[in-house]
């Protein structure tokens, strides 16, 4: 177990290094930020000065090593636009994005698990048919368009819910959360719903097909023969057996939701990482984009790691090697 953990950590570090080289290389190729930073009437001397001040006159590998050394000290460069450290700009937006992502995933699990199981147990019923066609619609809806439709219906036409921002937030252990105030909750509903629909549809389909396969297995027949109630067989024993793919998908989905927040946050002007990075891309704010990519890679590597570890708890047959 310990050996496995060490190997996985080493592997993760290698992946992160690879990502940092690739990202830095593409950034390097994408041109010189100096021309955007200075007004067009700047003299040649000013251009040269700024370039050497930023270290852009050095060869690629020196620039990369300097970047890496600073990164290990927690310094990912300064935002050109905000003139603040890129790292802290992103870190202070993580709670907003995480709050959105976790709420959306929880929402899709709470609805998706029972709905998918029901569709597997009673596939011919009217409700199950509707659940399945609804889930097909759900994976075919472009997320950003769904967001617009929700804004149109609930903000523009009905005027029930706000369409942008995060509303009032409350500090919990120094982290600002919107979940605890009514205003914050109101602001959360539409963006969380927008993200949840696609994942809900995915979970329903996954649970249904997994459940259908499990229900055909011998141990289910045996449990029924033993006289267990149908509900207990389905909702306890069969459910246990489909948890593994659900954990994988949920873990991966959390990552995707964080990445996809780029879209949802842009629509709802949600002050999270996604909105920051889109603004930074359009504003050519290179250090912020670079820092975002590194932090998000770190998150992904960590999430994959976590999913693997949770496996062993769910299925003792899996040995981590």
């Amino acid at each position: 177990m310990l050996g496995y953990l060490l190997r996985r950590i080493l592997q993760s570090i290698v992946v992160l290094l690879c990502v940092s080289v690739v990202v830095f290389f593409i950034m390097y190729l994408s041109g010189d930020p100096v021309e955007m930073l200075l007004p067009p009437e700047a003299t040649q001397q000013e251009v040269e000065d700024l370039r050497s001040y930023l270290g852009l006159d050095k060869p690629f590998h020196i620039q990369y090593l300097t970047f890496l050394k600073n990164a290990l000290h927690g310094d990912l460069g300064k935002s050109f636009v905000f003139n603040k450290p890129a790292l802290s700009l992103i870190v202070e937006r993580i709670p907003a994005t995480m709050e959105l992502a976790v709420c959306a995933i929880l929402l899709s699990l709470i609805i998706g698990l029972p709905a998918g199981m029901y569709a597997a147990v009673k596939p011919e019923s009217w409700l199950a048919r509707n659940i399945m066609s609804g889930s097909l619609l759900g994976i075919s809806l472009p997320v950003f368009w769904l967001g617009i439709i929700l804004v149109l219906v609930f903000s523009v036409i009905l005027g029930w819910l706000p369409s942008s921002g995060r509303g009032q937030t409350e500090a919990v252990f120094g982290i600002r959360l919107g979940l605890l105030t009514l205003d914050g909750l109101k602001h959360l509903i539409l963006p969380a719903l927008t993200i949840a629909v696609f994942h809900l549809a995915l979970i329903v389909r996954l649970v249904r097909s997994g459940m259908q396969e499990v229900l055909l297995q011998d141990f289910i027949k045996f449990l029924k023969a033993k006289g267990l109630s149908a509900n207990k067989v389905v909702y306890v024993h069969a459910l246990k057996n489909i948890l593994i793919p659900i954990v994988t998908i949920t873990g991966m989905q959390l990552g995707h939701v964080i990445a996809f927040a780029v879209v949802t946050e842009s629509i709802f002007a949600w002050p999270g990482m996604g909105k920051l990075v889109i603004d930074s891309i359009h504003g050519l704010d290179r250090p912020v984009v670079l820092a975002y990519l590194l932090i998000i890679s770190l998150m992904f590597v960590f999430l994959n790691f976590l999913v693997d570890v949770v496996y062993t708890f769910l299925d003792p047959r899996i040995r981590l090697k």
């Binding site: 075919s140 809806l141 472009p142 617009i148 879209v263 984009v289």
Partner: protein
Amino acid sequence: MNLSGWREFWEEFRESKSGIFGAALTLLLILVALFAPLISPQNPYDLTQLFLEDSNLAPKWTLGKFMLGSDGQGRDLYSAILYGLRVSLYVGLSSTAISAIFGTLMGLLAGYMGGKTDAIIMRIADIQLSFPAILIALVIMSLWGQGLFKIIIAISVVTWVFYARTARGSTLSEREKDYVDSARAAGMTSSAIMLREVLPNIVAPIIVIGTVRVANSIILESTLSFLGLGVPITEPSLGSLIYEGYQVLFSGFWWSSVLPGLALMGIVLGVNLLGDRLRDVLNPRLKR
């Protein structure tokens, strides 16, 4: 496949109403996109045909110009949607073709060669798969800037992995079969065995994945275009139309974001239904 094979396929395919519906919807939208210049009342790319006083007209719901209203630049929305559909389908289909070909070749190479080649190709695939497609495409487009060709390449770069994995899996099992041994004994080179002997036998699952992925590629393209990192504004896709429509949503001009979205949903739903059905019919696991 010979003629009776096709007939058998069709007999099975048409058993499902949703499969037929998906195929019909897809075909209809492809035809409409193909003949857009002939059936649209206006050329939305021709700036001399646009007049500012026509901007943001509400849908008339009668045939002809402005039947679906107009957008902020005075473009006939119906024409813009037809042309947008054309761009979206073009990007979706060509990026799928490129990534399917490249991915299949990579998977074939990895599966057939094994050893270091396999390890390198599949490790790259693993690393890439641990990051969401949208993020990688976003990075590429943010560095390259907008462009039709660029987005096709970006989507291909993101999606080749799916084909590589499938192709590798099938190649691994094909490699052990007698016909490969006899081809090798007959003195065929490795590349000839891969392309002429193994490739035809692994193509079916690739086609199924390809169909389903077209829908994903179309959504990916429209999402990037919605974020302003996709096709150029001179040739708007459905995603860029929705973005432009969103800018005027709060002024009450709902049609210019809702209607292009319906078209987008139509094509994605059609392709998804078609793909689901193809998977059911062609999947050998379910045919036992």
